[in-house]
């Protein structure tokens, strides 16, 4: 008899690892990679956005830049529909900041063994540039990019990797300068300099994933360090495109940084290619294995209900076999449309496993009608459909149409929980992490209760 977590994005993995840390027996069922595997490297707890609907970068009244904690406080006060309200019902930003800091420490520890880590923090905003030169006003990010805080750099060097598709450092340098100006920050020197990789590595540049894999080879670290060293600028920051390995990113950057004598970091990714999500996804799966969580590659098809609780999860394994897992507690962390937690079928939007009610960020039900009904014609308009998801109560139990827990032992975490549009209200991975941890805690309590009953 175990806890079953459905969904293997950050929310599900955080729930499963938290359960495992508390000694519970956990099985995680995962159909495949979800939105977590598509990220660019930021792990936003309360990221600012230039969008009118996003969190502001400056205090709207005083004009001062807001700290991450202030943005989180602003969000708790002004967005009652955001599911952070379920995690922090008393609306105390300090408590929320403490919880986020704890969660960040935990995530960092899960990632470190895989050559990845978490950086940034809730005390100061980090300004992270992506490969196009656009700035992200962020708090947490994977350590490889968090070290590239542009705000604290006196001068910046963008490394040019000739032949790398989708990356034009000169264009990026221009946009970056414009971004600093748009944010009202002082200009600083931004230089583009070629990264003199040995020919064997340079030949791989036309396929970014191949270059990244080639840099993972044991003898690549000194070669990279050697190529980076000449770019060094005092008090400066060297930014590389995100191709620094798939499994050994931090050691590679550390070696380069030591050799160059200044900070060396990666740019955030951007389409068409960003390894950040894939790296995160890989590292999370590895952490599951280390913690002894049993992972079932497959899709949960239905939940078996007895009385007021779910007792079993029926699933189809990736190899085609069927299986029924007994469960004392279930955590739904199935994400939204790109995860698979929300689908449209029978010409209406629905939550995929229990047909739980789906609400947008204004409290309107979305699951009675086809998706297109709630779409606005203008891309610039808010799109309620993409803020939609299920609701949870203060103990993260998934809520039914009557506003009460749908089942006594079904919890939900991550993006499946609605009330915000992650493209605009930048809290996606942060909420996945915080709610996943909390759902893990609640689930371990339920498992313990059931065991003692």
């Amino acid at each position: 008899m175990t806890a079953v977590v459905i969904g293997g994005g950050l929310a599900g993995v955080a729930a499963a690892l938290t359960l495992a840390e508390r000694g519970a027996e956990v099985t995680l069922v995962r159909a495949g990679p979800g939105a977590t595997a598509l990220g660019w490297g930021a792990v936003d707890v309360a990221g600012a956005s230039p969008d009118p609907g996003g969190l502001p970068w400056r205090d709207p009244v005083r004009g001062e830049p807001l700290s991450p904690a202030e943005r989180l406080g602003f969000l708790l006060r002004s967005r009652p529909a955001h599911p952070y309200a379920a995690l922090f019902p008393e609306g105390d930003p300090q408590r929320a900041v403490r919880a986020a800091k704890d969660a960040a420490v935990a995530l960092d520890a899960w990632l470190r063994p895989e050559g990845l880590g978490l950086g940034g923090g809730l005390d100061a905003t980090v300004l992270l540039a992506n490969v196009r030169g656009a700035l992200r006003v962020a708090d947490l990010a994977t350590a490889d990019v968090a070290a590239g805080d542009v705000g604290s750099a006196e001068s910046i060097v963008l490394a040019d990797v000739p032949g790398l598709p989708g990356y034009d450092p000169r264009a990026a340098a221009r946009l970056l300068a414009g971004e600093l100006a748009a944010l009202g920050l002082p200009a600083r020197p931004i230089r583009v300099a070629p990264l003199a990789l040995p020919d064997a590595l340079r030949a791989e540049a036309s396929r970014p994933a191949r270059l990244a894999a080639a840099l993972d080879a044991p003898d690549a670290a000194p070669l990279l360090a050697q190529a980076v060293a000449p770019l060094a600028a005092r008090e400066g920051l060297i930014l590389l495109p995100p191709v620094v390995g798939l499994a050994r990113t931090l050691p590679l950057l550390a070696a380069a940084s030591e050799r160059a004598g200044c900070r060396v970091a990666e740019l955030l990714g951007a389409p068409p290619w960003s390894p950040a999500g894939m790296r995160l996804d890989r590292a999370l799966l590895a952490a599951l294995a280390r913690a002894g969580v049993s992972l079932v590659q497959g899709r949960a098809l239905a939940l078996g209900v007895e009385g007021d609780r779910v007792t079993a999860v029926e699933l189809e394994r990736a190899d085609g076999g069927r299986e029924r897992l007994a469960a004392r507690a279930v955590v739904l962390a199935t994400g939204r449309f790109s995860g698979g937690g929300l689908v449209e079928s029978g010409d209406r939007v629905r939550e995929s496993l229990l047909d739980l009610p789906v609400y947008d960020d204004r409290g309107r039900r979305l699951d009675g009608e086809p998706a297109r009904r709630s779409l606005r014609r203008r891309y610039a308009d808010p799109q309620p459909l993409f803020s939609g998801g299920i609701r949870v109560d203060g103990r993260l139990r998934a809520v039914g149409a009557d506003g009460r827990p749908a089942q006594a032992n079904v919890l939900a975490a991550g993006e499946l929980v609605g009330g915000f549009d992650p493209a605009i209200c930048r809290t996606g991975l942060g909420f996945a992490l915080l709610s996943g941890r909390r759902a893990g805690e609640e689930a371990s309590r339920l498992v313990a209760e059931a065991a003692s009953a």
Partner: protein, 550 residues
Amino acid sequence: MNATRSFQVLVIGGGINGAGVARDLALRGVRVALVEKKDFGSGTTWASSGMIHGGLRYLQQDPEVTYHSCLDSGAIQRIAPQLVFRIPFLMPVFPEDPIGPELMEIGLEMYDRYQPLKNGRPHTRLSREQALRLEPALSPRIDCAFTLDEWGVDASRLVALNALDAAERGAEVHTHCEVLSLLREGGSGRVRGARVRDFVRGDELDLEAEVTLNATGPWAPALAALAGVELRLRPGKGIHLVFERRVSDVAIYARGVDGRDMFTFPHEQNSMAGTTDDDFYGDLDRVDVVEDEVRYVLQAMERSIPGIRRHRVIHSIAGVRPTLWGFGAYEDELSRDYEVLDHAARDGVSGFYSLVGGKLAAYRLMAEDASDRLCAELGVDAPCRTATAPLPGGASTPDVAEIARRFGVGWPAAVRLVFRHGDRAERVLAAVPAPRTLCDCEPLLDAELAHVARREGVRTLTDCALRVRLGVGGCQGAACAGAAGEVLARELGWDAERTAAEVAEFAAERWRAVAPILTGPQLPAMEIHRAVHRGSRPWSAPPPGATSRP
């Protein structure tokens, strides 16, 4: 207000007809200007099925249209051999069909007589088993099926090639330039050209001409009204649904609940399904697909291809036919014929003509007819050469394998490039040092983008959806629009802000094509689209929805 320029002919409207006339006149040595308010082919022509066929459908009411279309189809195949492709059709016959195999056979035999005009093969009759073996997606309920040979073309590319050839032969072509008013002698006399607004540059210019041609398709009545002329059309809206992949290898006929014929056909790596034909009274600049149309098309398709709903519909295309006015007939029964109107004779407004109606398949003949009339008025005595002079790239067909090898690009990318650029494919590939594909949806090369920006007059990123099929696949520009914006920025000298604004406008434009038909399987893609285009927007870009272009 600035520059005034003078021409013999001003052609208004850069659809297939306007571009066709501009090319025809340029080939005859006439000084011609062509203005298009958006981009070439962005009106009705982009919305067409791209069939250069005779239209089996018109055989009964309009055999003239069938004859001319077949004849002109043959000519288009000669002048743009790279851009045409054979579309074998399957026509399933169901037990409940009012027209049984025998009657059908008679109609097809009639059509067979026109086939040689367009290098088509005669029809064949297939047994149920043969048809199902050929196309397993077909409904097993069929009695039998017929094959029918037709030709397709990339319609917006055909417009661009006509405009390009016109330009290369001395015509002046302006995209994103809308005619706001007509210049008149003494205020209300002879039409003397037009005042146009350039929406990219944000200024106006006067284009003076001895004769002005209104070739604005369904907008023709509005343009004629600028001269105080009443022109009546019976505009008919038509839609297509575009599937992420090919639903079938051949085109398949389907029948709507009302008995109308429709079809699904492969186009590049997509399939398209359509079309509808409904009287349209709305705003021509906002033709949206509505739910009823989607259901109507899918219902029809499902009868022929039962599994059709499993396929992912990625976007939709809607347009309005500039059908000639007719009263008391159903939309489908209206004539597909065309007219060249001399407004001097008709309305007492001299120096002003309109070209309306017709079909893509007969565009060249229509353009020839219109050009003959304009030349007569100008006293120009040069013969039409459009039936024999190849369009750009059409003079010879290069070796795909050789090109793929020499430039280190994949076979599919090379095939695509030769299809679109013919014997200019190598020139296109030389536009950048090491050509690369920009998207996984379709092997679009950065070299092609750079080339069309440099040599073919592309002015905005949004143009590229029509011009090079940027972002019209499954990702709808999530993966490729940003990188494409940078290619154009380099070529056209955009600063970072302009580039960001162009990318934002492109994303918004794709959304307009997707939102009305967005259903289950495409929802994840559009969620990602938003994460990309709303979730990583620069701070220095103008706020969403703030673009100045109409």
